[in-house]
Symmetry: C5
Subunit: 363 residues, 5 copies
């Protein structure tokens, strides 16, 4: 199998992208599938759980936006979402044709990588190169989504540095739902790849070219495929890991925000209490003033200093009451974790040594 | 075994649906069961944990609403819930008779699928077709329940977009209890299927027709059954996954709702505090007015401007007090996550590199 | 070994119930135990972790209330708790003697079951029938406890439907502690049984009669024992599962109750705020009245309408202030999850397809 | 190897307890260790993770307070913490010498146990008896710590029955930190033992005496050692289990305490609201009084009943306002879980059967 | 291979530290790598997941700050972060050259360790010594970071003993994010090492010198490497364990802090309520005073004692109202966990025995 032949086959395959309507029975007969398998590539049935099914003459891949049938000499691509994401598909198809994976983000690598992968490409059988292209497309979709969500969440958390308000909580809810859904999807992709990796039989059965050409194979001899799948598994794991970290970050932010809101509430309550205490003081003073405002004879009406004395007295009582209240408040207010526990019971010998380091002895 | 024969057997089996009263001992003797097994098909004992028991001449399936005994040439169906769900049973029985699974939701697939499955059906032994029918019935029941709960929860969460009130919390509790119970049931169904899949011996022992016809079998040769069970396992897993996602969604909604309620409470407290502060200001003004309302001689009674001066003064003091209070409030009020931590200690070298990307070097 | 002989042995064994005081060394010598094993059957050492120890001539079972030594021809039962639960023991002993398990809850089954199990009983070796009796006793104890706790918790949750108060929380705490302890115990019982099931050697070594009679055995030939233990394991799993469900139910109830309390608190605060606002309004009116109550000359003392004008004015100001406060409150009050997020950033292609179903294409 | 000889060796070993300073290189050479191993027994490096390292001529045990080197004929004990816990060491050394484990808590067992273990002891090789002594020392340290913490936590929870205050929360924090650290340590001990148990090679390599005497061994023949280690593993598991239960207990107490505090807060708020409402009522009455206290002409000054009418009116208005407020409060106040959900949607057939038990049918 | 030769090679290798720009294709060709592998050592791609890739002629290590290619006679080190952490690199390089690991923290060990490791070093093949140096560098980086974070968190928790405020919560958030990220990184390092340990083939393939020299090897014969990797794995596990403990500590602190804040809030509310009750009392008194302050005829204007009687009465009423309020408060205020549950239902027999210890019986 030389460098040219796969390319030709590829072009033929690119044509095979199916967006029209086909007879299912024809598909089954042509590719050796059974009816149950068709459900997996029917674009009208949403598949949350990605699958890599190994059949006699084909590998059926259904991961995220890609539903494809990889054969020894062709890739049948099912046009899952009409024209909406045509950009994604055309990029994917281009790479499938040219025979090396898209490394858009690492443009400096291209020169070498192209050279390398082309060289390598001729070495790998057609079906593996196709699977690599598919997995790369999946990976770049996952990465794009991860970057997008990371920016969403990161931006929100940065905004929350300045101010925490209800609207931001609502956005946090929307983002964390989205993040959870994404993490779940990425995890399922990882599991689908790992499931194939775990089964020697499946790995073996994926050598479609060898099967067609009747090349005899040993059951454990599939290092190339293993390296290929392991590499993708690791990269998806990295994405899952990042999603989990982001989730943990959101979670701990939520917890601390709750503590901050609680603490803030206590501060508000403390101020409220001070105001209430002051109001009580003022009220007490007002009561005294009110009493002397009654149309009754207090017998000091004509005393020239009574007004000043009583004004002073009521202000003084107001102050006294407020001070008393504030003193009681100050006792409650201080919040710390230290507790003067006199630790009434003796410590057992076990815990002691584990904390202590003995500096003596030993050369 | 040709295409006709199983159909006839089927009809015979459909008659065998047991809703009357039978002698247990007869059942045991007839189908080679032991007494413990009967508990599993006794409709009066509620079975939470689904089981697929493989016995010498029969497979005893007890999943959700179905309690059946699958034999090489007949299915004995135990009438578990009287006439209540007769619709479910009649649908199930019809499909069992006709010999292909119900694909109600995918009506366009029918033409092909019928053709395919019929063709396929003649290939699969009778007991597998029966098991497939049973599992399809289980699956459609799970799917119906999932759709129902998803709509319940989804509707409630949509309502909560507009308004969060106590009544909705109570409904949320009822729904999340129901969701948890459903998830648990679906998970147990998945486990029951996976348990069979994990045991080569059990899979082998399920080839009842081959046993009867004394067809010699290899222990690992059960690809058809494996594909059948794996396919159902995957689909139940998908349902479990969706239930888990819905649960996570409910959980994160609860968490955010708590934060929103907390934040709302702080807003209420802040407004309350403002009102209290204003009341305190007004009270201080009123105290002054009250003092001059005392029936005592202030010596300015006759001053023509005293009224205006003191009215202005008390209003001014009211304002001053309120302003002082609001200024203190404004210090507490602002809530953000940013902390001007001067990060007194130097960063170790480890964390630095992991964040930085070095753009130089390397062709 | 005919049907009679085990019965006789049984009677002998029933006598062997040990409630007196025995020499430990004699026990060790007689039954081939080592000293460490005795700790497990010493009634003064509480054993939280159930164990099934297989020794050369005996199986040592220590589960919940039962501490027994099963030999090929006798069961030694250690009188663990004196006379307190004599009912339990006598029931257990009766069944051990008669040779079939107690199926108290399923009395209709008895006729058949007795017949069956007797027939079966003669087939099973003595030690397995003894183990079955012991496990049935354990199972019925677990079931009784589960029913009891389920009723406790269910009753409390039903009461909480009407009213949530502190006393109910305290009972909830007591019940959930009890539930957690029970779940833990049941789980450990399941693990003890599964541990035996996982080890072919142990299963093999449990054929005490065969060992004594020098019947040669194959290592994997222990189907009867496997079915017996698996059946119990499943039933204990069912109990554990129910306990977990009850726990999850309690947990989600707690979470929702917290939300309801929070929501209730906000409602209380809102009403409080309304009252405060009204008080502020009233206070403002009172300040005006107070100012005109000062013993100062306002120059309108003699105006015949001034009283009505000022009364109206102060009432009007009271109303105005209250209205202004309530308007600010109404802005804060509404709580919903909807956020008018203009979702500034474009959605990536990945999430789109997973939600959309493409209705076109494909026959 | 007779009963005397090990004892002599033991005494020699007891002398070998190392508290002075030794050359590390000598140690390595003498016992066939490599330099990395020395870190594990260096008392200045705190080792959180217990290890049982099997080397060519020795077993290196480093668990909790014990750092020992077990050889076929000697135990080298490293004096880890100076004289502080000399009691522990002397007890340990005594038991190592006499040749049977300390069963301090079970003093009645001693007579038999001593006899038994001595008999047994002669059977077990020296290195196993040493390991048993070490593990018993570890176990009794763990048990002592567990009892201590259990009492601490239990006492605190009992105190909280009477009163929940902040100081108790702080103590709860200290205790639960300590409990978590203890559980972690016990778990690691269990893992260290289980790790040895899982590896046939390691178990085999631990037969140091056989190695020295060149006794040929089969790889799976190590029942004595297995029983020994399994027994300790089970007992440590029991301690871990108890620690986990205590932790779960603390956790659920915390959750319920939070609910009780929340509920208490609502009760406080409700009373506060009542007071506020009463204050508002009083304030309204005071406003009316204030209006008539203005130095303005109300034209009813001379009416002899006006005072009583207006006093009654202001009191009545105060009451009316308070009643109106309390009525609104009573609507908010009631808190229950019942929601009159009219459950608008029909229940699917799936959930129904699982709750219902069909009492008819079946003999 | 004698002691000198590796050193020379080393120097050559130290020169090989790559900080300039190299052709990727040359690298691939020279070291037998494929293009995918290059991504792992490209310093511009941040790698969260550490990897140890075993290739035909080299081991590719990418852990934390180190990206190295270990060959049988050289180490190629990729200059990942420019000159920033040149100290780390120069230390690492020095140790690589001299041929023994840096044990900076344990300087007393140096004399012996150097001697030992040098002796040992000549025994170990070059590639293992290189890997050991790399892992030691990784380990000391992890340890430094752990110490740093432990101090950060410990210091903060110590500060919180004195006072809990919002700024500390924010710092807690920053620290716990950092701790979570660190724990994750350490865990991934442990997994990377364990992954190699789990695969005999990989371990075998790492004997690069033997491969070059065509030394025949058995698949399971790699004890030296196993001990080396296991030792590092244990040490990283210890760090992960400490990070987890710190995390659990932070978590339980957060939980208790929330309880303390809640409890504090209740105390504030209680005081607030007392103030409100006093205000209500004062207000009631003021109402009475206000009524008698009305410009209306109460007919007791001239009574000489009316003033004192009414002053006393209003003060008395103020007191009465306040007392009534405080009595109601005292009923709500007490918070404890004890509930006088009359435990209406009988206890089942199961729980009883497990709590009771029977002291009688048994010699």
């Amino acid at each position: 199998m030389n460098g040219r032949q796969p390319k030709d086959l590829m072009l033929r395959c690119a044509v095979k992208t199916i967006s029209g309507q086909f007879k299912k029975s024809d598909l089954c007969l042509e590719h050796g599938l059974n009816a149950r398998d068709l459900r997996k590539i029917d674009s009208r049935v949403p598949n949350l759980i990605p699958t890599i099914l190994i059949r006699k003459e084909a590998v059926l891949i259904n991961i995220l936006h890609i539903r494809a049938l990889v054969k020894a000499d062709a890739v049948v691509l099912f046009d899952t979402y009409g024209s909406a994401d045509s950009r994604l598909h055309s990029v994917f198809l281009y790479h499938l044709e040219v025979g090396f994976p898209p490394i858009s983000a690492l443009s400096e690598l291209d020169a070498l990588t192209q050279h390398n992968l082309k060289a390598k490409g001729s070495g790998l059988p057609y079906e593996f190169r196709a699977i690599e292209s598919i997995l790369l497309s999946v990976l770049s979709a996952l990465e794009a989504e991860m970057v997008f969500i990371r920016n969403l969440v990161g931006g929100l958390l940065a905004e929350m540095e300045d101010n925490i308000d209800r609207d931001r909580f609502k956005r946090l809810l929307h983002y964390s739902r989205r993040l959870a859904a994404f993490k779940n999807r990425a995890k399922l992709v990882e599991e689908a790849i790992d499931e194939v990796l775990a089964q020697d039989e499946d790995m073996n059965a994926m050598h479609l070219s060898d099967k067609i050409n009747n090349v005899p194979r040993e059951i454990h001899d599939h290092e190339d495929l293993e390296l290929l799948l392991e590499s993708f598994s690791k990269q998806v794991e990295e994405i899952v890991n990042e999603a989990e970290n982001t989730e943990a970050n959101v979670q701990s932010t939520q917890e601390i925000v709750e503590l901050i809101l609680d603490s803030n509430r206590n501060a508000l309550l403390t101020l409220d209490l001070k105001v209430s205490i002051a109001t009580l003081g003022i009220g007490t003073g007002a009561l005294i003033a009110g009493l002397f405002g009654m149309n009754l004879t207090s017998h000091i009406e004509e005393d020239p200093y009574a007004f000043y004395i009583l004004s002073g007295a009521s202000a003084g009582i107001a102050l006294l009451v407020a001070m008393a209240g504030l003193r009681r408040l100050s006792k409650i207010r201080k919040v710390g974790l230290s507790s003067n526990i006199p630790d009434r019971s003796p410590k057992p010998y076990l815990t002691l040594p584990l904390r202590k380091r003995n500096p003596e002895g030993w050369v």
